[in-house]
């Protein structure tokens, strides 16, 4: 185990962490403000990935792919909110979990009808392909570095919008007292729809960036969705700060676990036992982390204020 490898894995963890953050931000906003548990958030990630791949193939331009994926997921999010989810805000979490579970099935099948069940693969855009030499002996893929930069920029933008603008003020006010905000003359319905669409577009952004790294296939959303739930539960539901912290923690723990748990276990117990126990423990690590966090702090690390 040398320093270069550790730095590389730290960067991988960070890259995975910001992807999780892009998903978690929308999910935690929707939960914090509308009190809606949305399992179908992973479907937006999938839709974003498919739209990006399809548009890039049609037009031959990666920029067009990005634009269509972002606008497309925004539109799909808004339509879903208006058609199905709007009437669920007042219902209990159980109904929300089930209805959005149904939406997952619907989205997966619609994608399978249009694009088939086989995985699609897409290329990294020309401008972002290749490696960059960060320092001696460490060549890191430009594309993954770009994901980290985009993710951190989005985090900065979100922080600015939520805490420094009038829109952000309305969002925070809507989270703490919905009735009061609408009594002051704000169209809270429109605000909800906008927040939902925006969250969907963020998930779409994560999806379009994930395309060239992971396989694009029906059901890809659920794999990441459960990890994103771990993120927001660890961070504290409804808090953007918590989502960022949780995402980086989960991204790091998961990546480090996969990279180093097996050799580490090999030192402690026999290498053959580590061979089989390592990957299993690595997959379980984030759930273990979540159980420990919840057992010690049932509201997560950074509970949102006003709840």
């Amino acid at each position: 185990m040398n320093a270069t490898l550790v730095v590389e894995q730290v960067l991988n963890g960070l890259q995975f962490g910001v992807m999780l953050f892009l998903m978690a931000a929308g999910l935690t906003l929707v939960f914090g403000i509308m009190n809606l548990v949305n399992l179908a958030h992973g479907s937006m990630y999938m839709v974003g990935a498919y739209l990006a791949v399809a548009a890039t193939q049609w037009t031959g331009s990666y920029i067009a792919g990005i634009a269509l994926a972002l606008l497309g997921t925004l539109a799909v999010g808004v339509i879903t909110e208006v058609v199905a989810l709007r009437s669920l805000y007042e219902r209990d979490h159980l109904d929300q979990v089930l209805a959005t579970f149904g939406l997952i099935l619907i989205f997966n099948e619609l994608i399978a009808i249009v694009w088939g069940r086989a995985a699609l693969f897409s290329d990294i855009p020309q401008a972002l392909s290749g490696h960059i030499e960060l320092f001696t002996n460490l060549r890191y893929p430009v594309y993954r570095l770009a994901i980290i930069v985009v993710g951190l920029l989005v985090a900065l933008l979100l922080w600015y919008v939520v805490s420094r603008t009038r829109l952000g003020m309305l969002i925070r006010a809507g989270a703490s007292n919905r009735t009061m905000v609408s009594a002051l003359g704000v169209n809270i319905r429109l605000l909800y729809t906008a927040v939902f669409g925006f969250g969907a577009a963020l998930a779409g952004l994560a999806g379009l960036m994930a395309g060239p790294i992971y396989a694009v296939q029906p059901g890809m959303g659920e794999l990441i969705l459960i990890q994103v739930f771990v993120v927001i539960v660890i961070g504290g539901i409804g808090s953007i700060r918590g989502a960022l912290a949780g995402a980086v923690i989960v991204g790091m723990v998961d990546t480090m676990g996969r990279a180093f748990l097996k050799p580490l276990l090999g030192v402690l117990i026999s290498p053959t036992a580590a061979e089989s126990a390592g990957p299993a423990l690595a997959s379980m690590l984030i759930y273990l982390l979540m159980a420990v966090v919840l057992a010690l702090r049932p509201e997560g690390l950074f509970p949102a204020r006003g709840h």
């Binding site: 199905a84 159980l94 099948e109 159980a291």
Partner: protein, 312 residues
Amino acid sequence: MVLLVVGLALLALVPAGAAYFDQPFYVDLLRRVMIFAIAALSLNLILGYGGMVSFGHAAYLGIGGYSVAILAYYGVHNGFLQLAVAIGASALVALLIGAISIRTSGIYFIMITLAFTQMLYFLGISLEEFGGDDGMALAARSDFAGLIDLGDSTAFYYVVFVVMVVFLYLIHRIVNSRFGMVIRASKSNEARTRAIGYSPYPYRLVAFVIAGAMCGVAGFLLVNHTAYLTPDFMHWTRSGEIMFMVILGGIGTAVGPVLGAFVLLLLEDIISGMAGFVGQHWQLFIGIFLVLVVLFAKRGLAGLLPGARRDG
């Protein structure tokens, strides 16, 4: 009550009818449906009566299944022992999961139960000795020393049927006992329950363990039914499916979960068996059905039955 008796009587006659029309397939199908009805019944005890939305109930299907399959793998085929281990292991796991989870509530409870089941799912995948990701065939069906032969489709059907009826009765007794009253009281108003001198935590935990053990029995039956075990027994969509059966049938009603399991699984069977587009994309229609039920049938199917008694 009349409807319940008629329904159960019809179910009891299924093997005879299937033999008469030479359609043994339906015995298998309804046996599977009833096994899931048992799982849904056990979930209803904590979800419907106790207000604990466990999104990880499939874990105990897996624990029950693995108990049987692992013992059979090492040549232990004694059904009584396997059943005891399945129940014991499920209860123990439920005790561990419950002890931590019940400290939380609301969305956190949903997520932590999901997380624990995910852990068990990945644990199942990692057990290379027992087939890992692909699962393994059950070495032999549980052997009840000549009393009952689970290889006999009809006999097995009646075993499942009897277990289902017994569980229906047991849960009816539990929720109407003093213990059940506390569980239901703590669902409708926790503060008042505390005020009259009951701490909900131990009651909830015991209910959680009972539900886990009951679902372990369903796991025991399911692995004998499929004769094949995969980690997918514990997949989170399985947990969602069981939850949906409870909601569809009517949350906190005595027969709701059974009704829900029948409607959902038979509907799945009919739609997926259709030719062409509908059969190929049956999940689309199940998804639409699910959303419509949640949006419009708030009280579930049991609420539609004439004379339905609501315990919740």
